[in-house]
Amino acid sequence: MTTPSALAVETSGLVKTFGTTRAVDGVDLQVPTGSVYGVLGPNGAGKTTIIRILATLLRPDAGTARVFGHDVVADADAVRGRVSLTGQYASVDKDLTGRENLALLARLLGLSRRQAKTRAGELLDAFGLAEAADRLVGTYSGGMRRRLDITASLIVTPQLLVLDEPTTGLDPHSRNQVWTIVRALVADGATVLLTTQYLDEADQLADRIAVIDRGQVIAEGSPGQLKATVGAGALHVRLPDPAQRASAERLLGHALGVPVHPEADPAALSARVTDPDRVVGALAELSRAGIAVADFALGQPSLDEVFLALTGHPTGADDSSEEDAA
């Protein structure tokens, strides 16, 4: 039993329905203060809805949500004073310059005109946006806009920063910049709650991860615990000769001790590996049997594979019943 003050976010039996769709269907979350918490799930799983409830933009239909002990409905104003939200869709004004956007928000947060100007300037410098500061945000690239968006959440350092898919659609360089910001914030004592579709991202950043599917938490734990439920990783093998795939499948399955699946590519196979040490031996078996390998890769399980392992169905299946969580 944790004391309430140790939790940045605590939800219990949270429900939100849109029409007949239960977008959030009884979610219990406990986010420890000072950590990065990842909410992982495919499109339409209900991630955005949960976040909008936590940012007081939506009222839950049932259940409770508390942020640092303050109820998001009864004590919404106290919650707003502790949380900053960076939404999935650019929550900055594209008809203003970057500097004006930050100065406006600074004024709305209670800084004086002079303080707002100073704060906007130092943030733009620190986040590498100084050159673009006086251009209209409408002319920014996706990465710059996202960075400004996150910067706009940090004018007053929030106790809880909520980021909705902060790196979706960003190039790897911009994605690394966002990760750097998140790490710096947590080093400074803040709590970060982020949603993502990428297991890789949750693994890189999050101390704990909740996997969400169809409005429910289907798994929760540290990245290590989650990956253990799925297996150490995925082995992908591609053969130069598709005719040898059947025998390769049999040999690999035997050597790895796990099921091997043919992929859509007629020359490719994949397997969820529980013990990476056996991979080398298994590949050697192929070579001894005279089966050449065009390429192979041992990677982290993808979100698809995590889902398959946890739910028995791939992500995005039965999309018709999903709320577009926008």
């Binding site: 004073g81 004004d93 203003l96 004006e100 928000l105 209670g110 350092t157 750097t180």
Partner: protein, 280 residues
């Protein structure tokens, strides 16, 4: 462009990023007025960056004043000068009333963009994101009124009520416009696209402005139309503005408009706020 180091800052060292993060102490929450003023400032900044949005404010008064004076003035009142003297208070009202539709369109544009979510998640006076822009809009109405009066004076219009009468007329029209704006903000929260808000508000306003005493004296119209014109609020605003500009106004005429403006605000401001709070 990328001044951010892409390696993780080690704890203990004071990276620029952390220095700037630590500097973000939370100040006292702004007052309702300060928050509204910030939104008004935003509206003016947008005006600066997207001056095209002033097209209506500048175009409508010029077209109506010039068009009606010279096209119909001679036929309707015997001379363009005599007609201008009658028409100008009407175009003043019509212009400002048509410009009010902008408030609903802006609000709808705002809420469909992501930036409104950020405003709604800030610890500020809740109505500020709606009240602030309306205060900014008063600036638009003032600009439109000034343009109409300046154009009228240049064409030879002379208000017998003098400067005081003119200022009082403008103030009265602005008050009514403020009340009417709330109708469009309510509409802006109900309808789905800015275009729909614009179309519907113009659909309401065109019959109201045409079937009024703006362009001609209703004496020659059929009885059923006169009955409508008599209850049309635009007619009452025009009558009062005409009276103030001519120095012949009665307290009842002004009182009617003040009451109507207050009633519009009393009904549609709470309705707007209710709709705003209940957005999903």
């Amino acid at each position: 462009m990328s001044a951010i180091p892409t390696t993780a800052p080690t704890t203990g060292s004071r990276e620029p990023l952390q220095v700037v993060l630590s500097a973000g102490a939370r100040p006292a929450r702004p007052s309702a007025l300060a928050a509204s003023r910030a939104f008004g400032w935003r509206a003016l900044l947008k005006l600066k960056h997207v001056p095209e949005q002033l097209t209506d404010v500048i175009g409508i008064p010029v077209i109506f004043t010039l068009g009606f004076t010279y096209l119909f003035g001679g036929a309707l009142a015997g001379s363009t000068q005599a007609y201008l003297q009658f028409l100008l208070p009407g175009t003043l009202v019509m212009t400002v009333v048509l410009v009010t539709t902008f408030s609903g369109v802006t609000l709808n544009t705002d809420i469909t963009a992501g930036v409104f979510d950020r405003f709604r998640s800030l610890p500020i006076w809740r109505p500020a994101p709606i009240v602030g822009p309306l205060l900014g809009d008063i600036g638009r109405y003032l600009l439109a009124s000034t343009l109409v009066l300046a154009l009228g004076l240049a064409l030879g219009y002379r208000p017998d009520g003098g400067l005081v009468g003119a200022l009082a007329a403008v103030a009265l029209v602005l008050g009514f416009a403020f009340g009417l704006s709330w109708v469009w903000t309510a509409l802006g929260l109900v309808l789905r696209t800015p275009t729909a808000v614009n179309n519907l508000s113009l659909l309401v306003l065109f019959p109201l402005t045409l079937a009024s005493n703006i362009f001609v004296d209703p004496q020659t119209m059929p009885g059923w139309l006169r009955a409508f014109i008599d209850v049309n609020p635009i007619t009452h605003v025009v009558t009062a503005a005409r009276g103030l500009l001519a120095g012949t106004v009665t307290a009842g005429q002004v009182g009617w408009v003040v009451a109507a403006s207050a009633a519009l605000t009393a009904v549609f401001a709470p309705l707007t706020m209710q709709l705003y709070r209940n957005r999903r």
